[in-house]
Every structure is written in structure tokens, then in C-alpha cells.
Assembly symmetry: C2
Homo-oligomer: 461 residues x 2
């Protein structure tokens, strides 16, 4: 029996214990964007420190200006073994709207469905369940083989859902401690429940909140209506002006650094797009609403976006109130691809807003983070080895996918430390991440851990 076979058998026999550990982590409401949950974020980090030490990692907890970083190291003891840096995040999205959860978001449970067993709870798929697949693979490997086949460093952050503000400075300060040959990331999805995927493109993200201020107080719309500027109207015009009739974004310079796909990749995505009709219908939609003339996978993987993720102004209670509000605000996000420059886009956006302010209005800008897009070269050797390992576990050729979401650290690793990232995840599109009743398939958790054992083995050479 090879070390890998023994490790896979160990993962199978210890699944219940692994599940209990995941439940303990999900039960901690580590919502990073809301300062009220700071202590819970720290508690999640400390829980992980305890687990990783238990597996035999040399583990440290580093405070930051935001939530703490967990760094854990284990050597293979084999000269020349590759050094892998695994990245995950222990923070989660806010659970609201709470009333739509069938059970409390931080009381994880196992749910029996016709398609198989599911683990339900906030963060179970994004990213607690996913990061634990790697931890459980390492645990099984060490318990059976005594040591890992590669040198492994694990970095777990607590600010991914709120813009990873502390990461750039942390990377700079811990450059040597984090140095490795390749980054492994487990925060992405499978193609479908039978087909694994390796994500080779990640969109970047610029987050900008804008508050438009007008009069110095709320005004009666009867007394002032028709004469006083309405900041909701000003904000609405800015939002509307950001897209043209073909749904292209109108920010000057926005498409600088955006390139078209190579024809072979474009052709593969066109084929895959055909089978993707369910992607929208599953959420009650029927038609792609993005740029005219683009396929749906291109829209979500390889094209940049501009969306308002939240807006508020004036009276929003029940009934009506004839008020002209003093201010109105919106949270904008830009998804970036290729070589788009986050700083330039943030600056262009601010100019765009300023240019649309009528007399007596001013804009307040609140940045919530910025990160570039990332692209793994298709020629990478690690990519080839990982494809073979995944095919063995799942019995299907992995899809080389893009990903519309952002994992800011992936761009930062490339930019600051020169490391590429191999992104393998076991989520499914219907996992309801960021939504009520988030779930993670038990099979994703189980075969995910098995997949990582195989990938570690394959990358060892």
C-alpha cells in the first residue's frame, strides 16, 4: 500500500470526526465586515491555531490592524521537495437577511437531500469547508506517512470578505516566512458535481462607497420640492451613466488592459456556455444581462463589471415620508480582468462622479479595497500534474475554468512575491454562498480532502 493509498483510506475512515471539526469552526460567527464581530473572528483564528498545532504544524497567530493571520509550517524532510503555500480564509459574509434562513446560520447541520448529504451554515462553502479539506488531507497524510510529501506553509486570513485590507502589508513584512514555489488556493468551484475544475483566471475587485451630500438637513419636499437638489437623483444619474446601451462600462480608460481570449479557450467556453442555461434559470432569471454579443461564461469569467451592491437614501420605513434627504449613498464594485489597474480605475471612478455633481453637491468616497485580476499560464507544469491527480479522483477531465469572484491575495502573491496560484475548489454553483441557507456537499468535503491528498502526492514528483 502506497502512502497515498493509506492516506485516502484514513480520510475515508475518519470522515465523521472531520465533519465534527468543521461544525465547530462554522459555529463561530466570524463576520469580518462588521466590527461588532471582531472577537468572533479572533476566536475562529485561535481555533484554527489549535487544530493546526494538533496536526503537527508549527503555528503562529499574527495580529493585524484588522483580523489576525494564521501561519502554519510543516516540512517534508525530503531534500528538493517542492514548497507549497496553501491559502484560505476563515471569515464569512454577514448572514442577513436572517429571516430567510431555515435554521440559524451559525448552527451547522447535516441535511439529507435527494442528491446526497449537505452541510448547511454560513461560511460552510465559503471558505471554511474548503480550507478544512486541505487541513484534513494534511492530517491524514501525517497520521499515516509520518510526514507530508511536500514542504507546506498554510496562510489563513480573516478579511477576505471585506477586501483583505491587511494582506499587502503582511505579505511584505513576512516575505521570507511565506516564500514558496507555488500557491494553492481552495476557494473556487467544481464545473459540476461530477467534473472537477482548476481555475486559471480570477477577476480583481475595486470596492468604492460614495456618499452624495446636498442640503445640510433633510427637507420637506412640499416646501423645497422643485427648487432643492435631490441627492438620490444625482446618485441615480451617476449609476445610469456608468453603462451604455450595449451594457459596456463608460468610465474613461476602463478597458485598458482587457484583452480578448485566445481562440481555443474562447471555443471551449462557447461549448461550455451551451450547457449553462441552468446557471441563470436556477436563480429565477432567463437572459444574460451583460455586454451585448458575449457568451455567458465570458461575461462572468473574462469581462470586467460595474455593479451597485447597495444603495440607501431618504425615508425607507413603511408608508411614505415627503422628504428630500440631505444625502444618499451607494456601494459600488468593479470586477477586473487581465491587466486592468485597480488604482487607475478607482481614480477614474472618482473623477467620473465628481464630473456629474451639480451645484451644491459634494461627494464623499470610502474605499473598501482594491486588487488586480490574476491569470495562471496554461503551460504550467504544476497545472499538468494537478489535472492528472484530479482526473484520478473524479474520473473526469477537469475543466480549466475562469472565476468571476475575487481572491485578492492571488493577485498580491503574483505581484508582490512572484508566485502563481493553483486554484482547486470543490464548491458547487448552487451552494448559495453569500446568500441564506449556504451549503457544502458532504461529497465535496470528503472527496475534496481526498483530492488534496492526491495533488500533494502528484506535486511531490
Amino acid at each position: 500500500m502506497t502512502a497515498l493509498d493509506a492516506t485516502l483510506a484514513r480520510i475515508d475512515s475518519n470522515l465523521d470526526q472531520a465533519l465534527n471539526r468543521l461544525f465547530a469552526l462554522v459555529a463561530i460567527p466570524s463576520v469580518s465586515t462588521d466590527p461588532a464581530f471582531a472577537a468572533e473572528c479572533r476566536r475562529a483564528a485561535e481555533w484554527l491555531v489549535g487544530e493546526l498545532r494538533g496536526v503537527g504544524f508549527e503555528t503562529s497567530l499574527y495580529p493585524t490592524e484588522g483580523h489576525p493571520m494564521v501561519v502554519a509550517k510543516a516540512r517534508s524532510g525530503k531534500p528538493g521537495a517542492p514548497h507549497l503555500l496553501f491559502y484560505g480564509h476563515y471569515d464569512v459574509q454577514p448572514p442577513d437577511p436572517l429571516e430567510l434562513w431555515e435554521t440559524p446560520p451559525f448552527e451547522p447541520r447535516l441535511s439529507e437531500t435527494p442528491g446526497g448529504k449537505q452541510i448547511v451554515g454560513r461560511g460552510v462553502a465559503d471558505d471554511k469547508g474548503q480550507l478544512m479539506t486541505f487541513v484534513e488531507a494534511c492530517r491524514a497524510y501525517k497520521e499515516t506517512a509520518g510526514s507530508l510529501p511536500c514542504d507546506v506553509t498554510i496562510l489563513l486570513e480573516g478579511e477576505e470578505e471585506s477586501g483583505s485590507k491587511s494582506l499587502p502589508a503582511f505579505l511584505s513584512a513576512h516575505r521570507e516566512e511565506l516564500a514558496a514555489d507555488l500557491v494553492l488556493v481552495c476557494d473556487t468551484s467544481m464545473w459540476d458535481r461530477k467534473t472537477p475544475a482548476i481555475t486559471t483566471m480570477l477577476r480583481g475587485l475595486v470596492l468604492e462607497e460614495v456618499v452624495i451630500h446636498a442640503a445640510d438637513r433633510d427637507l420637506h419636499s412640499g416646501m423645497f420640492g422643485g427648487a432643492a437638489v435631490n441627492p438620490i437623483h444625482v446618485l441615480a444619474k451617476i449609476i445610469t451613466d456608468l453603462h451604455d446601451e450595449r451594457h459596456r462600462i463608460t468610465l474613461p480608460g476602463f478597458y485598458d488592459g482587457v484583452t480578448e481570449l485566445p481562440e481555443d479557450v474562447a471555443a471551449q467556453w462557447r461549448r461550455l456556455s451551451q450547457g449553462r442555461q441552468d446557471f441563470l434559470s436556477e436563480v429565477g432569471l432567463s437572459q444574460p444581462a451583460g455586454e451585448t454579443g458575449r457568451d455567458i461564461l465570458e461575461m462572468i469569467w473574462a469581462r470586467p463589471t460595474c455593479d451597485v451592491n447597495g444603495i440607501i437614501g431618504g425615508y425607507t420605513g413603511k408608508g411614505s415620508k415627503t422628504v428630500l434627504p440631505a444625502s444618499a449613498s451607494a456601494k459600488f464594485s468593479f470586477r477586473l480582468v487581465g491587466q486592468q489597474d485597480p488604482e487607475k480605475i478607482a481614480a477614474s471612478f472618482r473623477s467620473f462622479v465628481e464630473a456629474r455633481l451639480p451645484a451644491d453637491c459634494h461627494a464623499e468616497f470610502i474605499p473598501h479595497g482594491a486588487s488586480p485580476a490574476h491569470q495562471l499560464p496554461f503551460s504550467s507544469d504544476a497545472l499538468t500534474r494537478a489535472r492528472a491527480a484530479l482526473k484520478q479522483e473524479w474520473g473526469a477531465e477537469p475543466v480549466l475554468a475562469g472565476c468571476g469572484g475575487s481572491i485578492p491575495i492571488v493577485g498580491a502573491f503574483k505581484q508582490d512575491l512572484g508566485m502563481d496560484a493553483l486554484m482547486i475548489g470543490f464548491g458547487l454553483d448552487d451552494d448559495r454562498i453569500h446568500s441564506p441557507n449556504e451549503k457544502y456537499e458532504l461529497s465535496s468535503f470528503h472527496k475534496g480532502a481526498r483530492s488534496w491528498a492526491r495533488v500533494l502526492d502528484a506535486l511531490a514528483g
Copy 2:
């Protein structure tokens, strides 16, 4: 000593007691738009019933589907005396944002300022202090002369701040009980603190809330952004499309029934507009933002408007959340003038919204009330008598003003019962109605009561 002189002296000597009565009414948080305050609205109505019975009115409390109506009657005993119907409202706007109040909104107090004493509290100017000027005038008249100089019916409603939904049906059902020669309304302002005003034009109001629904759940903007329709963008475009570059409203048929002012009135308003620079600067604005080429008084008195009074969608907490919301909503109000038809405008608005819905979106409409505008003929005999009475009290010629705000019942009285309204109020532009720290000048309250005594006397002939 005439009956009027005795009444005026009585008002002067009883001011402290009158003020205590007003404080008791303002202390009742009768917020009509929020169902949570329904019992408080009823309590305010019952308090008024008690007061009016104490003054000697035959008084009834009528339940409605919303908040109750108070109807009180007192006969002059003089054959041929005119019959006046006084209208006021005991409901108030929500006090939010609470944190901007210097003292609690429903704990009225007297504040000493360099300009004189002020009464502070929610609803003290709109409309509780104003309606009590009439009640106190009646009280003093009856206490000195034994009876009023005219037949008087008082109607007080509790839904003015939330669209007066129960009024049309109530008027129809109580047509005979409410029949009179003229309606008196005390819910308007003076021109300035030395110059009284009689309001001859009131804008109407259409209130429509719209909810735009898209996907059947909130979506992750990374996974779906670029492909899924964003209801905030749809709503922003609707808001933007409602005005053209010259700030005219683009709803088809919107300006049907809107006429230009007679030249003499336009000339008076142009002169008055010159002295109105402080109107905007007092609230931190410098330029009128309405229709290009119109004077400010015309904008707020004689031109129709469209404003969004509230908007909400997506994540509005601290930080960011990369969500594409399932829905977004906005509360629209249209101020109407001349012969604009509220029903036609509501219908035109709904068609306008429907025409701008992209695939996969639908709109939900929630009406919050509709009322036409009102115009008192300049040739009215009652207007001539009231002008003379006010000039005697204030020593200045009253301004014949317009009013941007709506008093839905005024249009309804005209339309359903054929009665014109004489609108005399003692509010000031800096009373902060609908805003935190609402106040009413003690001089408005005192001289307001004296003014009504004079007007009652003058209208008796």
C-alpha cells in the same frame, strides 16, 4: 368693549394655559405612517375630543380604516351667519433621524432664542400648534361672548402625513354633517415673521412606491456579476429617465392641466423671489435646482415636481458586501398643480416604469395616496375680508401666496363638496417641519389665535 376686543384680551391673559394644552397634545407621538403608532394616533384624537367638548362643541369621534376623525360643531345662534368648516390634522411625521434632536421629539419645551420664544417638538408647527390657534380663538370667543360669531364645524384628521387615505370616503359618508360655506385651513406659513400670508394655491400629491424584482434570491456579484440583471441599476435608470436636461419631467401627459401664471401674479412673485435668496442658503444650498428659466417661487408654488423620497436595495450596513440584490425599491412623490389629474399621472408613471423593465424584472407598485391641486379664486369675498382682518392684527398687507406642500383634503373639499378653502397659517420657513428640532414661534401661536378671532369676526359680516 366689542366682543372681539374682549376675546383678544382673553387670549392674551390665558396664553400660559393655552400653551400647557398644546404641550399635552404634542407629547402624544401620533405618527400616522407607521402602524406601530396607531394607538397614539387614537389617543391624540381622544384628547382633542375632550378639549373640544370642554370648549362647548358638540363633538364626535369617528373610526375609519386608518386613524379616527374628530368632528365638532358649535352654532352661533344668529340667523344667516356664515357656516365655516375648520380643517386641521393631529398626526405628525416620523421623528427620525432621532440622533439629530437636541431634546426628545415628544417632550415639548419652550426655548428662549434671540428672536423670541419658540415651542420645540415634533408636530408643534405641523400641525398641532396651528390647529390649536383656532381652538383657542374659539375658546376665548365663547368664554367672553357666550357664542361664536359664525356657525363652526371643526374636522380634524389623523392621516394627513400619510396620504389622507380615509378622507374621500369619510367626506362622502358625512356630506351633510360637514356642509358649510367655506373651509378654513391652518396648515400653511406666514411670508416672514412680520408679514402674514393667505395661501391661494396648494400643490396636489401622488405617492407611489415601486419595488423592482429580479433574481429570486440575492446573488454573489463575483459569480453572477456581468450576467445577472441588477435591480438597483434598473431603478436608477427609471429615476434618471424621469427628468430631462432642463429638469422637466418626461412622463407622457404629465404637464396636461398645467397653466402659466397670470402676468400680475407672476410679476408679484418675481419681486418676492428677489428677496428669497435666504430660502436656499438657510439649508446649505445656493442655486435653485428646478426647471431651467423659472423663478424659485414659481418652482415651489406653481410647478409640478417628481422626487424620490427614499431608496433602498442591497447591502447598506458598514463595509462592503459583494451582493447583487434580488430587489430594490424607491418611494416616488409627484407634486401637482392646476388641473393635473392624480389618477392619470399615477397610471402614466406605472406605464413609464413598466416600459423600462428589462427581461427577468418585474415591478410591484404600492400606492400611498393621491390628491389634486387647489386654487382659490382671487375674486373671493371671504379672501377680501380675511386680508383686512390679518392686516389689522399684523400691521402689514398679507401676501397672497402659493404653497408647495399638499393638504389633500383641500382638493377633496373642492371636488366632492364644492367648497373653496381659505388657508391662513402662522408657520415660518425655518420651523424645520418634517426635520429634527421642529419648532413653532410662541408669537405664531399667540398672534395666530388672535388672528383667527379677528377672521371669525370679519367673516360674520
